[in-house]
Symmetry: C2
């Protein structure tokens, strides 16, 4: 198979971790005789520094020409500390999501057996949890009109949904539920928000086409609680952009650590793959970041964009093997457990590659 | 002391639990020689059934005339299942919050020692956690303009904040932090939302007046994760209406169970006290609900609205004693623990009253 992959490392630890996602893809290409050609693009703070823009036209053009994109992370403390700055790294990510029509963000939450102790949640609560989130990614309050009054004392964002936006993401979620435990939970705040009432109406309507899927509706506040109280009750979860952002970060505790979670954004054509974790400036450049989320993003890329299930599973097995051998980055190390070997980014990346071959 | 208390049981288990919040207040009045007179008001689904309106004028009038309000819960499956209904129970709660100017919702999260095992989170993560949430309660996307297009295919809610709204709640949070561990965490989504950028600017500005308080800013997605990963890192948390709704429900796992959490809504004049839990229709009327959140709401009422710290502490001690004696409602019972006695609502309420005297 011959494919063009664009790597966008982005900011902070994005640089370090995508190195390993990419190396894993190269190793797979070698092992299975595929032709992957790689190009690189800039986005976020690094792009603002270089060009003044968070998403340079060149990066977007490369993205459109590629068969799949491996992305790192975005964001920088400078902007977090100064909310008045007009040009911001995150605008790059939001723009590329919109431009590429990446309306469905899939975030699988599954614990590797060896990380059962790494979470703050009790092992007996976690064991067997397996959730697939569908987060809507190109609508909601993220993309509704933003306003600031002239005296700067009033600010607003429009939370808005159109029926077709809800329908297309919900349909993907229903289809996925069919291939799993046939349970769908739609999360909204329909007791307060009109956008959520539309969301609920559309999902209710669509549910009639999927009588084999058990559909429930849950308020976001309750969902945020249930996710921790009893993660096993969920199979597929579908929700809006903002609620999805919050729930999936929270769900990282169900998977042991944020450093383990990959996500796939799909929609019109090109797929976009990225860790759920952010740019983590506190540890950036120190070689401490966990590369596994980027490596697992590469696995999702092979599976979803290229249909290479076997190669994808191979990567997941190599990650699993590395964990079983006791190798841990800082974020997934457990206190008081024997036979654990603490590794930095590079050493962990190399372990996975070793286990791939 | 002579005071007028309005009891609004509301919907579902609200009826059962406020009975015990009220009885506890009566017992305190007897024991300490106070004159509490009680009146009752209707709100929510029960009010819609009786009058067509979720908040009848009579209830609002009584509320304004009272010295404090003890509220139960709101909501009914009928409306949750039909998002097209125009008149909805929750409108009553939102309206009374707005009319009484209850802009600050205080939600203390603290684990009773004996409930260390009741949570899905590991005991060593929880032990010592003590968080005070300040949730803004009369602004945000809850109260911004709601719209539905004529073809009903587009729906929106305006997420909007004014500087003065952020300032007054943040000030309360800073003041509270001063009396505690002097740490304030403000939660927003300033990397995406304009309303959050205003929020962050205002809190940053105010922080200069409180140099003795260590202030940090955190994105909501990260906060939803940190709350479970390391709840001890938080002291006082201040956030907007929507994010506060989500985080405090989630935080119930830090307190062992939702059934233990009380909240105080204050602002202009009258204080309003309610459990964080909802109307829980699945168990309503069965005598299974945990009355402790309502009882602890009564304790907050005495402390905050009447300045009766001793009486308030007396209630908390009685709850603690009941737990230490091994009494548990369904929601806080732990599997495989000896010396636990499972009680229904009434028996648990009676235990607390016994321990009060
Ligand atoms: C960086 C930020 C804009 C982004 C989001 O909120 O979507 C991130 O948190 C994510 O979840 O991908
Ligand atoms: C019932 C609902 C309107 C309410 C809210 O969202 O504010 C509740 O969840 C709460 O937290 O008090």
């Amino acid at each position: 198979m011959s494919k063009k992959i664009l790597v966008i490392p982005g900011d902070g630890i994005g640089q370090e971790v995508t190195t390993w996602g990419k190396k894993v893809l190269e190793t797979i290409a070698d092992n299975y005789g595929h032709q992957f050609t790689f190009d690189e693009g800039i986005m976020g703070h690094v792009a603002i520094e270089a060009t003044g823009e968070p998403l340079p036209a060149e990066t977007l053009e490369k993205a459109k020409q590629s068969d799949a994109i491996l992305f790192g992370a975005i964001g920088h403390a400078k902007y977090d500390n100064d909310p008045t700055l007009k040009v911001r790294p995150e605008q790059g990510l939001l723009k590329i999501r919109k431009e590429l029509g990446l309306y469905a963000n899939l975030r699988p939450i599954k614990l590797f057996d060896d990380l059962l102790q790494a979470s703050s949640i009790k092992p007996e609560i976690l064991q067997g949890a397996d959730i697939l989130f569908f987060r809507e990614l190109t609508g909601d309050v993220y993309f509704g009109e933003k306003k600031r009054s002239e005296d700067r004392n009033t600010a607003s964002d429009l939370m808005i949904y159109h029926k077709y936006e809800v329908e297309r993401i919900a349909r993907k979620a229903f289809e996925a539920a069919r291939t799993r435990k046939k349970k769908l939970c739609s999360v909204d705040k329909a007791n307060v928000l009109e956008a959520s009432r539309l969301w609920r109406e559309v999902v209710q309507e669509l549910a009639k086409e999927y009588p084999d899927v058990e559909t429930e509706h849950m308020f976001i506040d309750n969902a945020a609680m249930q996710l921790i109280k009893d993660p096993k009750r969920f199979d597929v979860v579908v929700t809006g952009n903002l609620f999805g952002d919050i729930l999936t970060d929270e769900a990282s505790q169900v998977a042991g650590s944020m450093g383990m979670l990959a996500s796939a954004s799909v929609g019109d054509k090109v797929g976009f793959y990225e860790p759920i974790h952010g740019s983590a400036h506190d540890i950036a450049g120190k070689g401490l970041a966990n590369p596994l989320a980027s490596i697992l993003s590469a696995a999702l890329l092979l599976d979803i964009s290229f249909g290479l299930q076997e190669e994808s599973q191979r990567i997941i097995k190599a990650v699993d093997a590395s964990l079983r051998q006791g190798f841990r980055t800082m974020d997934i190390a457990t206190k008081h457990t024997e036979n654990q070997f603490l590794l930095g980014t590079e050493a962990m990346g190399l372990k996975v590659i070793e286990n791939l071959t």
